[in-house]
């Protein structure tokens, strides 16, 4: 396969003429991304009658633009009020929120936007050029390799909750157990459901996200008059455009960090089911592992904010690759896009690149143009959005509780999901107060069903032989990588201590 430059140039020129679809989709995406419970997937479902009525190409451009901008929007509440708009932004508050509390909300947003846009734009262009080759990654990952990838995600839990690895692991595995609730895949036997029919179809993610992050945070912030510290409040009052410009400058100065973490996101995005949440945590952990100042992570460190934001935008283009090349969507939004395109009679797969290259490559040019147009939103959004954090918690906490709880109702329209979100809120509150990372519980809940699926496939194929987990060469390489990844932070820590001791 070779790169068709003239075709790409023509397509970019054509996509720019669709600005009238892209710009409204960007604003809609930023809004829905910022509201927990209103992911791009939900919004595309809500707007399905509209997208189905559109020309397939226009509909696809609209969906792609909404998807890309919602990813950036999800970082806004994660940074400002410690509530990720979607699960993909769950690693963003780890360093974004401490920056806000210190009165550097403007800087944090500017850094997040630059990382999102630069990471998204770069990976989209890379995906466009390398799509024929990148798509091959998906062919090599079978159940065994996927289990190791999942365990990789779980191992991150311990290193993310670095203050107490054991607590991090307990939280992560507790999340995995919660993620195992529901009917089993073969015989539909109910397991751990407490008799609730609503839990037969697994624990829904939105109530878990809303409860663990939003409700628990709302109960925690009432102990303070404001989200901001006293110093942060003063800083916020005195800050002007210079803070935003400084944020942009800081982000651009970390260009190499943006590049490698977004490429990491792209590669993870190609793996069906892995998604933005795993990518952002992997990027965060890798960034911390190779940092010269890992002890600063979690305290409002710029690189700890850049890594997840670049990675989760890198995933956006990655999830489209298996969708377009082998017809397997890489995530929920990609799955909905597949449904819409199938409705229009479009068949995904390698043939699409021969029969309709405009449609096959179109999502990537649309995404690149979306990211390019989003550049103009950086300055005003970063400048004025942080004002929300000076609002007193007296008004903020009830608002967060009511609107996010109702957001938990939206995806399935079960009243039960609101109660479930409240239960997760209580678990999250206890976890926060006692030093168990809520993000670790959430990633466990996300990975639980995926891990079970691949574990079961591997066990069935090997007729119950656990050694199947070490039967593949690629799997073994991944195992080695996993152990290396777990051991490396300890080794780096040991080296740092030795060096410090030598200096003293």
């Amino acid at each position: 396969m070779e790169v068709q430059w003239s075709l790409f140039a023509e397509m970019f020129a054509h996509t720019f003429t669709l600005w009238w679809v892209i710009i409204p989709a960007i604003f809609l995406g930023l809004i829905v991304g910022a509201i927990p419970g209103f992911s791009a997937a939900n919004t595309i479902i809500i707007l399905l009658p509209m997208t189905l009525a559109m020309d397939p190409e226009v509909g696809l451009v609209f969906m792609v633009a909404l998807y890309a901008s919602s990813r950036m929007g999800a970082g806004i509440p994660a940074i400002l009020v410690n509530i990720p708009g979607t699960a993909g932004a769950a690693a963003t508050p780890l360093d974004g929120y401490p920056m806000t509390k210190a009165g550097r909300g403007q800087q944090a947003l500017a850094i997040s936007f630059v990382s999102s846009i630069a990471g998204g734009l770069l990976t989209t262009l890379l995906a466009l050029l390398a799509m024929p080759w990148l798509s091959q990654v998906a062919y090599y990952l079978h159940s065994v390799e996927m289990i190791v990838v999942m365990l990789f995600g779980i191992s991150l839990i311990a290193t993310i909750a670095a203050r107490d690895t054991l607590k991090g692991l307990i939280a992560g595995f507790f999340g995995l157990m919660i993620g195992s609730i529901g009917a089993d895949m073969v015989y539909a036997t109910p397991r751990g459901t407490f008799g609730f029919l609503e839990l037969y179809d697994k624990v829904p993610l939105i109530p878990a996200l809303v409860g663990l992050f939003a409700v628990s945070e709302a109960f925690a912030i009432i102990e303070r008059q404001s989200i901001l510290t006293e110093r942060g409040r003063n800083l916020m009052k005195d800050s002007g455009w210079s803070e935003t410009i400084e944020g942009v400058r800081i982000a651009l100065s970390k260009w190499w960090h943006i590049i490698w973490t977004s490429i990491l996101g792209l590669v993870i995005g190609v793996v069906p089911g892995a998604g933005a949440s795993i990518a952002s945590f992997v990027a965060y952990q890798q960034s911390k592992t190779f940092s010269k100042t890992p002890e600063l992570y979690g305290t409002g460190h710029v690189e700890g904010l850049i890594a997840p934001e670049s990675a989760n935008n890198g995933v956006t283009s990655g999830t489209l690759i298996p969708l377009l090349v082998i017809g397997i969507p890489g995530g929920a939004t990609a799955a909905i896009m597949l449904v819409v395109l199938q409705y229009h009679g479009v068949t995904m797969g390698p043939d699409l690149f021969m029969t309709d290259p405009n449609l096959a490559y179109g999502p990537f040019t649309a995404m690149a143009v979306t990211y390019a147009l989003m550049i103009f939103t950086i300055m005003p959004l970063a400048r004025y959005m942080p004002r929300i954090t000076v609002v007193s918690t007296t008004y903020m906490a009830p608002l967060i509780i009511s609107f996010t709880l109702v957001g938990a109702f939206v995806p399935r329209e079960y009243m039960f999901d609101m109660s479930l979100a409240l239960v997760f809120g209580v678990i999250g509150y206890i976890a926060r107060k006692t030093g168990y990372h809520v993000a670790a519980i959430l990633i466990g809940v996300i990975l639980g069903p995926l891990l079970e699926r691949y574990f079961l496939i591997a066990m069935q194929m090997s007729q119950g032989d656990i050694m199947v987990l070490f039967s593949s060469d690629l799997g073994n390489v991944l195992w080695a990588g996993l152990f290396f990844s777990i051991g490396l932070p300890y080794f780096m820590d040991y080296r740092r201590k030795r060096r410090k001791a030598a200096e003293e």
Partner: protein, 167 residues
């Protein structure tokens, strides 16, 4: 000579809540799969066994700290600041009420009621007029944005039904 520094005791009572809850849930989960086919058991037994192992390590570590006198079973990490306990419980009660009543009262009216009461609770009864206006504005804004503009299916109640008839 300097006096030996007094080290503060760790309060492990609060730290044990999550492990104990996780252990109880895992045992309950196991009880629900005891007679199930192996396909329903294998993954959960794998994960649950690791979780129980981790919890046991944590408990052993805690017992060692308690016996050494480095820690006690106080719940300070969970309950502090104690001056907020009543407020927090009252807010939890209001939230439970909201979750229960929103099915009957609908989004707009129940949200208005919840916001008003919760804000009055947290402000200690100050700024009543401002809170009433703010709560009304937010509930109505939510109705306009989510239900009217986005056509989102929020819990339906008398206000939403009335507006549907009028519009």
């Amino acid at each position: 000579m300097n006096e030996p520094e007094k080290t503060e005791k760790k309060h492990l009572g609060g730290d044990l809540v999550i492990p104990v809850a996780a252990l109880a849930f895992t045992l309950y989960y196991f009880s629900t799969i005891i007679d199930s086919p192996w396909t329903a058991q294998v993954s959960a037994v794998f994960i649950g066994s690791i979780l129980i192992f981790l919890i046991l390590i944590f408990i052993v570590k805690s017992v060692v700290s308690l016996r050494r006198g480095d820690a006690d079973l106080g719940m300070d990490s969970l309950l502090n600041p104690r001056s907020f306990i009543l407020k927090r419980l009252a807010l939890l009660g209001l939230t439970l009420g909201y979750v229960f009543l929103v099915d009957y009262g609908g989004f707009t009216l129940t949200t208005f009621g919840f916001l008003t009461l919760a804000m009055l609770l947290l402000s200690g009864g100050r700024n009543k007029r401002f809170i009433l206006i703010l709560s009304g504005g937010l509930a109505l804004g939510g109705y306009l944005l989510f239900i009217l503009a986005f056509d989102t299916r929020f819990p339906d109640g008398p206000f939403e039904q009335l507006m549907e008839r009028i519009l």
